[in-house]
Symmetry: C2
Subunit: 359 residues, 2 copies
Amino acid sequence: MTTVLATKIARDYGTPALVIDMDRVERNIARVQAACDAAGVANRPHIKTHKSPFLARLQRDAGAKGITCQKLGEAEVMVEGGLDDILISYNLLGDEKMQRLGALLQRASITVTADNPVVLSQLSQAADVAGRPVPVVIECDTGRKRAGVETPAEAIALAKAMTELKGVTFAGFMLYPTENGWPQAQRFFDEALAGVRALGLEPSIVSTGGSPNLKNLGQLKGATEHRPGTYIYNDRMQVDAGVAGWDDCALYVYATVVSRAGPDRGILDAGSKTLTSDTGGLDGHGLILEHPEAKIARFAEEHGFLDLTRSNTRPNVGDIVRIVPNHVCVVVNMVDEILMVRGDDIIGTLPVAARGKLR
Amino acid sequence: MTTVLATKIARDYGTPALVIDMDRVERNIARVQAACDAAGVANRPHIKTHKSPFLARLQRDAGAKGITCQKLGEAEVMVEGGLDDILISYNLLGDEKMQRLGALLQRASITVTADNPVVLSQLSQAADVAGRPVPVVIECDTGRKRAGVETPAEAIALAKAMTELKGVTFAGFMLYPTENGWPQAQRFFDEALAGVRALGLEPSIVSTGGSPNLKNLGQLKGATEHRPGTYIYNDRMQVDAGVAGWDDCALYVYATVVSRAGPDRGILDAGSKTLTSDTGGLDGHGLILEHPEAKIARFAEEHGFLDLTRSNTRPNVGDIVRIVPNHVCVVVNMVDEILMVRGDDIIGTLPVAARGKLR
């Protein structure tokens, strides 16, 4: 059950291959932009998912206010690719990074985050290099236990520190509420907002995040923007979260069945070095469109081991299958380029230009 | 508690960074070569761990008979880098790969594996391109439930098929016994060997595999070679398997503490896009040398979240720590280059030349 397109891909490029359907990509970009417009918040897509200036420009041209990067190296690639108005949603630290941040600030509008005073004080160095202050949003953790200050009081103290420190300016708040934690995020934000206003500060950016949170878009009163990432491709996690259907999944991993290795087993040429071991909290490592009952049960580095005990159909050695990965962002990060298709036509290759920018 | 070397690395390169100690690399290469020599089996190191022709040449110059690759793309990089006598321990399939395999066979001595007749019949195509037959070893699964024929009878049937098929020649057997399954592997091999001898065939390669199996080196009567990979760097899994000590771990991930985010927590700038979600079956995602009681409990893509509840010491924001990863092979696969050090000196950068060779 190998499709016409799969046959072309295997013949001209070989498997495993990451393939994006550009019709779906464009539809996903338009749909989420329209949702942001309707909710009255700006769209600042996170490019960690695609790492491509070409796709970031499509997002911008569709109406995105700016973009989000997680690494300085990603931001450098994006500025090189013509993007501007970039939020680096990360605590940057270290002399080497301050030099680079300072240089980048001379070329583009960059905002960074901080959740502690050590990061703040380092940012002064970047300001010295840039010859102008660094705008900083305060990252607030409203329940995920990831990065971010844990209380409004800490947020207010950081904002106050910014008023006393040369080279940084208070730009606002960044939040990443849990999917059911938006009321909690609102209370946190309201208290922090009152506190900074008492200091004479006003946030210009109040940023919420996450593709799974698209269902909560606009729920935070005072939010100015949202940072969705995964929506451009979608994946099994987004379908599981209820924010995308299978037809919204724009990226498939094409893989070949290279061995059956027993009646209830099968082996794909996509292992942990292609699909990654990140399960995203789901059972199995991806949905095989041709064999939805098959489970990608475990991996070797270049092998995906199928459990076919619950499958009504068995693939043959040589079959090419399409896999919707669990977590598309980490899968894209494994490759240097992706194939672009429309319908049954391969229309080109897309460099994952910011991949490998470890720092 | 940031070391002198860590300070240099952060200043000149930034974190996260993958760093190898070349004294340890050379010691690991020499130690395993000596063990193979003592056991009377050739050494055919698997380059999937380092993906570097430079290091493969060090292994060859220390006495390795040849190398093992898992992908055609890896083998192409190695041939380009001056290596020869390569076993591609993988079922290769598809027209595009057969063209490339044929071309490679014209440049170097290449052996491939097969565990099913579909793969065998495809290899004839490569032989047509090369103008000479393809040597094939039969992959045998003696208990791991990975790739490989499951019975000696299947192995013998495949060997017989080779005698009837133009373009392939029987080269021997490849096994990857479980750590306690060497008696079982011996029975499998003995029966398969008797069967192929009855066909008038004699294996020139009988290859066993795995760094954790170094403790079983030479245990298979009739084995001609072993394929260890991870031993060049070692990792937490190898220490856990009892084949390496912490002082044999030659690769560290240097990471910066970018946030504390609560009294019993900490955040590193190394997440699932650096350390990968591959736990290797261990608890936590690596050993932090400076804080061995700290647990790298979970990841975001660019964040490693520390659980410090059992730690006697707490890192400060800005500290640079050294991490021994759980499974070094998949971590190396994330980066384009690695820093090489001796003692406290950074002596150069090493391209991970065969990284990203997805096919």
